[in-house]
């Protein structure tokens, strides 16, 4: 298949699948972007980090599947196990992130104390958070991703597959662009408070889901 036709097909598939990807990512993405309270430009940078992490998550799994020869159409139990672990990781991460947002690096401290070191760690953790959240989101194996992965594998050759997948990813990411507008809300301090509280609520929800899903996987052994 000619390269341009392949890329166009991938892009259109991505654009048509974008709403599904957006719906599954927004519970995590919107509160994170709102809580950071950065300008539209800063929010755009955070979004880029998130999408980068998401792409890394997709590619990591795709490469693993390619190398090991696994079918992307997983058995339900393996699917549930990945989902459960991803949800658990997401829950712990969201709660930690919301707590880290309250921390500021030690302003001036000649002898760094444990509390100051903890604050510094929290600050650095927060810097990497969008990437890691994107990576965990990318592991959720949404149906469009699976379909695109299968189609990519059929396109022949690793380079073609990766190009197809990248174009598909770009197509889905177009839908995320409007979330940069959250940067316009940064002047409302209440938005940050609400966003942090939302992160805690979401952490509770994902944590409970993880326990249910993993419990079912374990009990069926």
């Amino acid at each position: 298949m000619p390269l341009t036709a392949l890329m166009t097909e991938a892009l259109l598939l991505g654009v048509s699948s974008g709403p599904v990807c957006l719906a599954s990512c927004t519970p995590v993405l919107i509160p994170v972007l709102a809580a950071e309270q950065k300008s539209p430009r800063g929010t755009g940078a955070l979004l880029a980090q998130f999408l980068g992490g998401r792409l890394a998550g997709y590619l990591a799994f795709a490469c693993l599947a390619w190398l090991v020869g696994l079918s992307l159409q997983l058995q339900p139990r393996a699917h549930a196990l990945i989902y459960g672990l991803a949800d658990l990781g997401l829950a712990i991460f969201l709660a930690s992130y919301a707590l880290a947002m309250r921390a500021h690096p030690a302003a001036s401290c000649d002898q760094p104390c444990p509390a100051a070191r903890a604050r510094l760690f929290a600050h650095r953790f927060r810097s990497f958070a969008p990437v890691i959240l994107g990576f965990v989101s990318g592991l959720t194996l949404c149906p469009p991703f699976v379909a695109a992965g299968v189609r990519a594998a059929e396109s022949g050759g690793l380079a073609h597959s990766l190009l197809f997948f990248l174009c598909f990813f770009f197509g889905t990411s177009i839908w995320f662009a409007p979330s940069v507008g959250l940067g316009l809300l940064r002047r409302f301090a209440a938005v940050g408070v609400v966003a942090r509280l939302t992160l805690f609520l979401l952490a509770g929800y994902y944590g409970y889901l993880a326990l249910i899903v993993l419990g079912r996987v374990v009990l069926h052994d």
Partner: protein, 384 residues
């Protein structure tokens, strides 16, 4: 209790009766159908409700107070709605739990609390993520279109006043908050006020992502007094535990301790959603800076902590104001006043109050009054 600086005003009985007349006529119109139904119970219930609603409005006119009389209606609505609803459930299926069969057949009555969660999936995919029916049927008169239409009409008229005149759950905690003479807990961290917005954001995003009504499944405290999914698994048992805990904590215990509507202030995402419509309504409450001392009586009286020092400085309550009138009645200097947007603050506050009350009470008689009458009919049916 602080003495009023200004003498307590009262309107003459004649004038009060005259002002009550439109509500009397309206109530007769609204209850006329029940008056001609066979049997004594519907007639008695309609008559009792009519007298109740008209008497309360008369008192509002006579005493120039709003909150105290409105509260009697609202508490009656809050306690009688579950009576009528649960009665109906037991008559239909002998249980409060919703069997899956009822969900599959689209017979689950629609609750207005689900509205915020429905918007995104309906707008994007054209589907309603609720196990009900779009249009009313013989087996489900409380269909989605009917309830959304009712809510929309009420919101156009009341704005967030829905939470003071329409919500058939809010009266329960308002009743409990009215019992103690003084609060045991006086200081509540004002940052918790943002929790309903966080709950709203979380349930809207999660419902769009999971395509299920997340609040109804996990967080609604009023499932404890209406209907809930049958407890058949660990998951549904946990859900029921959450409902009962939230109801006991936020609807019963905390209102008793704080004399505030804590469920409305700290959880209810629908209240946060309705706050948006405070911007669209024609009426609001203002704080006249020229008369305010400030003595913070309004702040203490507000059931939803919508009056803060910042709000007083800005001259109006926060957008979470439910237009219950508690601050206006508590103010001893007539600094807190009813107001028609666009007009001068304090210039014609009684006219603003009257116009708002006619609108709100007309809706209250039509909607809340019918619920009260329905529950009373069932109770009277036992006796007559």
């Amino acid at each position: 209790m602080t003495d009023r600086v200004l003498p307590t005003p009262r309107r003459s009985i004649g004038k009060s009766l005259l002002l009550t007349l439109p509500i009397l006529l309206w109530s007769l119109l609204m209850f006329s159908r029940s008056m001609i139904e066979p049997g004594r119970a519907p007639k008695l219930a309609a008559a009792a409700t009519l007298v109740f609603m008209v008497a309360l409005f008369f008192q509002m006119m006579r005493t120039l107070e709003t909150h105290r009389w409105r509260r009697y209606f609202f508490v009656a609505l809050g306690f009688l709605f579950p009576v009528g609803f649960i009665w109906q459930l037991y008559a239909l299926r002998g249980s409060m739990s919703i069997p899956v069969e009822r969900m599959l057949s689209g017979d689950t009555p629609f609750c207005f609390l689900a509205i915020p969660m429905m918007i995104l999936p309906a707008a994007v995919a054209g589907t309603v993520i609720f196990p009900g029916s779009i249009l009313p049927t013989a087996s489900n008169p409380h269909a989605i279109a009917a309830m959304v239409a009712l809510w929309f009409a009420a919101t156009l008229v009341l704005g967030k006043g829905w939470c003071s005149y329409g919500c058939f759950f809010g009266g329960i905690e308002e009743g409990f908050s009215a019992i103690p003479k003084k609060p045991r807990i006086r200081r509540l961290d004002p940052r918790w006020r943002w929790m309903p917005w966080a709950v709203l954001a979380a349930i809207v995003l999660l419902s769009a992502a999971t395509l299920e009504p997340v609040y109804c499944m996990w967080l609604c405290p009023f499932k404890a007094v209406t209907e809930y999914p049958a407890v058949r698994s660990f998951e549904t048992a946990v859900q029921m535990g959450i409902f009962i805990t939230l109801f006991a904590g936020l609807v019963v215990v905390l209102p008793l301790l704080t004399k505030k509507r804590t469920q409305c202030s700290f959880l209810c995402p629908f209240g946060a959603f309705q706050s948006i419509f405070n911007k669209t309504g024609a009426f609001d409450i203002r704080l006249d800076q020229s008369k305010c001392t400030p003595c913070v009586l309004c702040e203490k009286a507000c059931p939803t902590m919508s009056i803060t020092p910042e709000a007083v400085a800005a001259g109006k309550p926060l957008m979470s104001c439910m237009k219950c009138g508690a601050c206006v009645d508590a103010c001893v200097r007539d600094a807190a006043v009813w107001h028609i947007k666009g007009t001068e603050v304090g210039a014609s506050s009684e006219r603003a109050r009257l116009m708002y009350l006619y609108s709100a009470w007309a809706f209250a008689v039509m909607f809340g009054g019918s619920i009260i009458a329905g529950a009373l009919e069932k109770l009277f049916g036992l006796m007559v």
